[in-house]
Amino acid sequence: MSFINYASREINCKIVYYGPGLCGKTTNLQFIYNKTAEESKGKMISLATETERTLFFDFLPLALGEIRGFKTRFHLYTVPGQVFYDASRKLILKGVDGIVFVADSQEERFDANIESMENLKDNLEEQGFDLDKLPFVIQYNKRDLPNVSTMEELSNLLNPRQVPELEGCAMTGEGVFETLKAVAKLVLNDLKKGS
């Protein structure tokens, strides 16, 4: 959970990008990394296989600026999307403050999205979290591809709680910062409520 440091006047929050394999979680982080000013970002770490599939996690620390004299830092993580990395996926969810679910809009990934969403709920429960109570946004990625499900279909299926949902194309960056902003807003509002 968040770390409030009165000594250095900092607040740190952890956001996890979740979703099925090859949905674009790492691409989201890479776009944010490439478009963020040097002074606002740390090194991006990717623990990946030789074929550039995420093995454990990607990590990107971002310093967004100050709120009421407190430096606001967000630590962005991705999980490995491939089904058999479930043990690692659970670990990344520890201490999470907000979640972005990156859905793959392609028709053939419809079932993979459902499976990953169910897996997210199960893994959160194991860590003592309830997805319904966490800051949560959904990004429907790859909207530029020809074979995509409609937004309505995806929304009906993946978003019964009607959390903020955004269209995205992480390769070109469309919707990437909007998604980050949406989840950051929910996380900060949550801190406000909790205070």
Binding site: F3, I4, A7, I11, G42, I67, T72, G95
Partner: protein, 165 residues
């Protein structure tokens, strides 16, 4: 002890106590760098030759490391592995868990030894454990008394929007 889901709050007084303990350990263990990390990967404090070190990344990877070995421990029926040691050609890393939630990392070279580091870490862990217990009590007291209003109690949507401009 800090619960896994509670927010960690650090106050000036405890931060100074922690820094003093880390500096003492740094001297007594003849080590190069020492840092403390929350199990969630947040850097709490660091001392020593940190100028050329990416402490944020180190913190995140240390927590990942502890999480992964914790997962391994559970698979073989252990609660956790409370000490990890990585040996390099020049530098070594000694990682230990304090009070179930905080990770103490000591980086040292040939000027020290694993035995000395283990000995000093054990003593320092007890002292650091006390500070973190005090910190938890203080956080609970502050929450009940409401003496230190959260800096986020009055943030507005504009404040949040401004972060992204």
């Amino acid at each position: 002890m800090l619960g896994p889901q509670s927010s960690l709050v650090m106050y000036d007084e405890e931060y100074q106590r922690i820094l003093l303990l880390l500096e003492k350990l740094l001297r007594e263990a003849n080590s190069k760098v020492i840092f403390l990390v929350d199990k969630n990967g947040q850097l709490i404090a660091a001392t020593g030759e940190t100028a050329n070190l990416d402490t944020t990344s180190l913190a995140s990877l240390t927590a990942g490391n502890i999480a992964a070995t914790g997962g391994l421990a559970k698979l073989i029926g252990e609660k956790e592995f409370s000490i990890l040691f990585h040996e390099g050609e020049k530098d070594n890393i000694h990682i230990s868990i304090i009070g179930g939630r905080v990770i103490l990392v000591v980086i040292f070279d040939q000027r020290s030894s694993l035995g000395l580091v283990r000995l000093r870490v054990k003593k320092a862990s007890n002292e650091l454990g006390i500070v973190f217990e005090d910190l938890v009590n203080k956080t609970e007291e502050e929450a009940i008394s409401g003496n230190t209003p959260s800096p986020f109690a009055e943030i507005t949507d504009d404040d949040i929007d401004n972060l992204f401009n």
